[in-house]
């Protein structure tokens, strides 16, 4: 019985590992073909490249101005993230600590937009952004993310603040801290775990977002994101699959590298975000 079940486990283990390799095979094919010449891709997609050449990468790197794109992504995500964490945490804290009819209403006002699908407002968001002169700018897009990211962040922070005993605020008040000082020196450090969760889900979202950047910053190569550049690139090189796959790999590589190093935290953060959200 015992021996049999151990054999069964080993078989299951082997089957699952094979299945997972098959599952990732498309990614492998993308990487594989990014090292090939046009002729090699056309004759056989599955064969390994004749030699490990980085010619495609050099071409795509300078053609799409990769460092600039990377910087754009970084600015958009960074500006967005700092704002979301800042405005959401202070608001959620105040709303959770104040017990009036107003605070309940305002809290609802903050979280209700989670029900609005982005496509329902995409046109008018673009219109309004044009009126506010924040289109075609990485900073402008980052600023806009403050509002798009806030509802979920307020929701998660609000739930967490309610679990922090009020006595902590009170004893800090006696010690003379108040307002923003009280919040940032006493409360915000206690929110570390939820802040991590919010950082993880928001970075994944903003880094990979497509439709909002397409509307906001697609006009010039100076403001494009990695995903947008990959999208335009494929449009221009419809049949040059070797370049297209190189662009894809270059666009996703940063995410994969970060994931390999922070796997545990990312999975944990995503689960926590889903369970609370």
């Amino acid at each position: 019985m015992n021996r049999q079940s151990r054999a069964g486990r080993i078989i299951l283990e082997v089957v699952m590992v094979l299945f997972s390799l098959l599952f990732l095979y498309p990614l492998f094919l993308a990487i594989n073909n990014s090292f090939k010449s046009f002729g090699e891709v056309m004759t056989d997609v599955i064969a390994l490249p004749n030699k490990l050449a980085f010619g495609n990468y050099e071409h795509v790197w300078s053609f799409i101005n990769y460092p600039k794109l990377f910087l754009n992504n970084f600015v958009i995500t960074g500006v967005g993230l700092i704002g979301i964490v800042f405005v959401s945490s202070i608001a959620a804290y105040k709303l959770a600590r104040t017990k009036t009819r107003w605070s309940g209403f305002l809290y609802l006002l903050c979280i209700m937009p989670m029900l609005i699908p982005f496509q329902s407002i995409m046109l008018t968001v673009l219109q309004l952004s044009k009126d506010l002169h924040i289109t075609e700018s990485t900073w402008g897009l980052g600023l806009l993310y403050w509002g798009f990211g806030a509802p979920l962040a307020v929701f998660i922070y609000h739930g967490f603040v309610k679990g922090i005993p009020k006595e902590i605020d009170e004893s800090a008040t006696i010690d003379g801290a108040s307002g923003f000082r009280l919040f940032f020196s006493v409360i915000f450090p206690l929110l570390k775990s939820v802040t991590t969760t919010i950082i993880i889900i928001d970075v994944m979202w903003m880094w990979n977002d497509f439709l909002l950047p397409l509307l906001m910053v697609n006009g010039s190569p100076d403001t494009k994101t990695l995903t947008l550049a990959a999208y335009t690139f494929v449009g221009q090189y419809t049949s040059d699959w070797q370049y297209a796959m190189t662009a894809m790999v270059m666009a996703v590589l940063p995410s994969i590298i970060v994931f390999i190093f922070l796997q545990k935290y990312i999975v944990k953060g995503v689960v926590a975000g889903a369970v609370k959200g």
Partner: protein, 296 residues
């Protein structure tokens, strides 16, 4: 007394300082655009002329009575959402059950299934387009299997399946980790007690594991529903709505009307319908699941 009043006022100022920033941000991102959407939906507007022309509910009449694109994309979205929700959740639960058995490779497996989820959907669509168009040719040549010789993006039925498969491939890891977390909260002694009582693995699953997974199922179905109703990116890069315009989802149809056909008023009317649909579905789902969970 003055001191007290002063404190009240300063408390109010502080309340404003803490909450106003977020309210302004949310108003700019959601509430003002939403009000503008309602207004534009009652107009005929190409986005160029200065003044949209007010036409009352004509857009809505046109959409519901004469717009075959809309009906087609609505059907596509419903079919897609139902199949996606069922398949991705069943697959994720099955994988989670295996991964919960504490195999040696569990860490690797979880990471492997999760990786596609961290990638942008547009890019996932392009990679799969390459696989379907070029990769399958080579695979067909080397294996001789008929399955690789079908036109996976060129035939309406198959293109639908391709979109479904790629979406599931990209996101199954997300649902998987939620279910793994859910399974880890099922107490082992409960399962052991059931084993001692003579319950087989299948009965154990349906009578103990599944009911205790209810909260995870609620979350996952909710997420799958909200994501699938809004499906857009992956279709854009995988099929571009083709073949023959058969794979347009509602979100994509709205995008086509507003940004490709410049029907700004008409497109926003559709966008408003999408919002109402999402709202109704969410409310129904929340009430059903809340009731169920209380019983369990």
């Amino acid at each position: 007394m003055f001191k007290k009043m002063g404190r009240k006022v300063s408390e109010k100022i502080e309340f404003g300082l803490f909450t106003l920033p977020v309210l302004i941000c949310i108003a700019i991102a959601f509430y003002i655009p939403f009000a503008m959407t309602i207004r534009y939906s009652l107009t005929k507007w190409n986005g160029i002329s200065k003044h949209p022309k007010f036409i009352g509910l004509d857009n809505f009449k046109q959409i519901f009575l004469h717009d075959t694109n809309f009906t087609q994309s609505a059907w596509f979205t419903i079919k897609y959402a139902v199949l996606y929700i069922v398949l991705v959740n069943v697959l994720a639960i099955l994988l989670a059950l295996v991964l919960d058995m504490k195999l040696k490779s569990t860490t690797w497996l979880r990471a492997a299934f999760f990786i596609p989820y961290i990638l942008s959907l547009v890019i996932v669509g392009f990679i799969w387009k390459f696989i379907f168009m070029q990769g399958f040719e080579s695979l067909g040549a080397s294996t001789g299997w008929g399955i690789f010789k079908l036109s996976w993006l060129g035939e309406p039925g198959l293109a639908f399946i391709s979109i479904l498969l790629v979406s599931i491939w990209q996101s199954v890891g997300f649902y998987l980790v939620i279910y793994i977390a859910g399974l880890q909260s099922v107490p082992d002694d409960l399962k052991e007690a059931a084993t001692v009582d003579g319950a087989g693995p299948i009965r154990r699953f349906f009578n103990i594991t599944l009911p205790l997974l209810a909260p995870s199922i609620t979350i996952s179905v909710f997420m799958a529903l909200t994501n699938s109703i809004k499906v857009f990116d992956v279709i854009l890069s995988l099929t571009g709505g083709g073949p023959g315009g058969t794979t347009y989802s509602i979100a994509y149809d709205i995008y086509r009307d507003t940004f490709q056909n410049n029907l700004y008023g008409y497109g926003t009317a559709k966008a408003l319908i999408l919002f109402v649909a999402v709202l109704i579905v969410t409310i129904i789902q929340l009430t059903i699941f809340k009731r169920r969970e209380v019983e369990a």
